[in-house]
Symmetry: C2
Subunit: 334 residues, 2 copies
């Protein structure tokens, strides 16, 4: 469906220690279901087709579910989304639009229900099936294409650093793997430093790196970056960070909000979690950390994926020029 | 910001008189603000910059407003959106995200308020300023790139027909103009038939063609295709349809719903109005009308642009396998 081939958009950091440096933002909202997950699900649903699975099951309350449902519909396979009662109706509608069945259970029951559906119906799970999140083996193969595209978009060169919004670290691992394979193939000679960007309220990969463990779990703190708010992160993230001489960075909601504003004031409205890479980069620049340039920040999805506001409709003001001018002043527009 | 370069996705029509014919869907949801309007606003906001306007004003309750706000922010110009109290909060948030001021007045007052802001503040209007909708002169220049891209995507050939969701016919006119200029430049020798697709409840271009008038106005009937629910359509649409030997088609909400389902069951979730082109095509195929192939249907935006559902959250069921299986049966998934 024309997944991938997403543009690199230049964004100026402005202010602070970052000076007037520019970074490249890879805008993954330009995919078929408007997130990076389409690269993964092209591979996971293809794997299901080739193994003759009778259907797809996915545990998600966001981008992954919609993307899996879209690729399942394209493949002619039934799809079941297992979600929980904190998920938004808007995201459920998004998934249902592709013809998927939406099953809503308690948050803690999702993994068991996915495993029930796999066992009883033989459906292929395109989500993780273990508590430590080992993911779908073919998922990162789709993300590798980001490394290939970046290589071509930067005139067959490797950037100094790539900053990646990180939940279960599948995207992070896939990008590193793509670059590592370019080296193995003799196409390039180096791999960029890969930096993970997790919400500070969680940060299981950051915790694993700090404790020098292959994987770990952390308590469930709250964050606006709901799409990457994970309590477990696995060996793949650790491998990618160590092998690329990168690092694990955690960002606060305040830093995320500033990064979101910086992006939207340059034309890119990004999902809250999608700004984590830029937030991590700005934090390192501000702290005087040496970050090899040029820098690419991956933006995973667009702001339309944020939960919609509570009120249905906007409220009007009188249309005479005095009232309009007063309103423009109140809004700081004039 | 990497506007344009959108993919052509093959969609099978299936069933009915259309047989197993495939059409090409050009998915304009892959633009920076996820609609075709980014092509237009790259040109209108650039025009404002070159004429040294101190700001942008746009009258919209949808895609055009968000796109204008994004390009204004990228250009460093203030932006005012003039909308009405039937607009959704979700769309207002979308526009505010780019830093635009949102002014909400009565539906019938919008044009006067736009003209007040132009007169009092010298802002450039990227929206129409006349009751018959003559639009912004540079807008269709952006849409011409769709014709150029299609020419390259179809191996330097011109398709038989292009079906276009049509409100004020700027997109329609721009696509025709692109093809007509390729002929004038000696790059190609023919222009495809251009078909407009309007909601049956309105259809001002259809009315103008039927009455052999250069432009007309119609009463405001209701339709799910709110983004193209216009009561006026101008000379540009008439020129494009006549010069290309195309036709004006109107589609019912029922036909739109069927086209939306056909698209979403093949992986493309489309805004209601975005399916109008495919709905018009299916209608002509079913009626046995000779439509020159290959056929391209333009899909203007994605389903995330539809108004969000009323309820905030989904409701859960018990997680035991008997309950899950019963729910899957109720949903028709097994």
């Amino acid at each position: 469906m024309g997944e991938g081939g997403t543009p690199l958009v230049t964004v100026r950091l402005g202010g602070s220690a970052a000076g007037d440096r520019a970074v490249y933002v890879k805008d993954e909202s330009r995919n078929p279901t408007w997130s990076h997950k389409d690269r993964l699900n092209l591979c996971t649903v293809s794997a299901a087709l080739y193994s003759a699975a009778p259907g797809i099951v996915v545990a998600s309350s966001g981008n992954h579910g919609a993307s899996a449902a879209a690729y399942a519909s394209r493949a002619g396979l039934p799809c079941v989304l297992v979600t929980y009662d904190g998920a938004s109706q808007a995201m459920a509608e998004f998934v249902r639009a592709y013809g998927a069945a939406v099953i809503v259970v308690g948050r803690e029951d999702r993994l068991a229900v996915v495993n029930d559906i796999v066992r009883e119906l033989g459906f292929e799970s395109v989500s993780n099936r273990t508590p430590t999140h080992t993911g779908h083996p073919f998922g990162p193969e789709g993300y590798k294409t980001i490394a290939y595209e970046l290589f071509l978009q930067l005139d067959r060169t490797v950037p100094g650093s790539v900053f990646v919004p990180t939940g279960y670290a599948e995207l992070l691992f896939g990008i590193w793997k793509g670059y590592a394979e370019l080296v193995e193939l003799g196409v390039s000679s180096t791999v960029p430093r890969i930096y993970s960007a997790e919400p500070a309220a969680r940060g299981p990969l950051h915790a694993a790196m700090a404790a020098r463990l292959p994987a770990t779990q952390v308590p469930a703190g709250t964050t606006i970056a709901s799409s990457i708010a994970c309590t477990a992160s696995g060996y793949r993230g650790v491998v990618a960070l160590n092998a690329s001489h990168g690092a694990a960075v955690v960002v606060s909601d305040e830093q995320l909000t500033r990064a979101l504003e910086l992006l939207s004031r340059q034309g890119l409205w990004v999902e809250a979690s999608g700004a984590a890479g830029l937030a991590a980069l700005t934090q390192l620049f501000d702290a005087g950390v040496d970050v090899p340039e040029p820098v690419v920040a991956i933006s995973t999805s667009g702001g339309l994926k944020n939960d919609p506001p509570g009120d249905a409709h906007v409220k009007r003001i009188p249309a005479d020029w005095d009232s309009v001018r007063r309103e423009l002043r109140r809004l700081g527009a004039v």
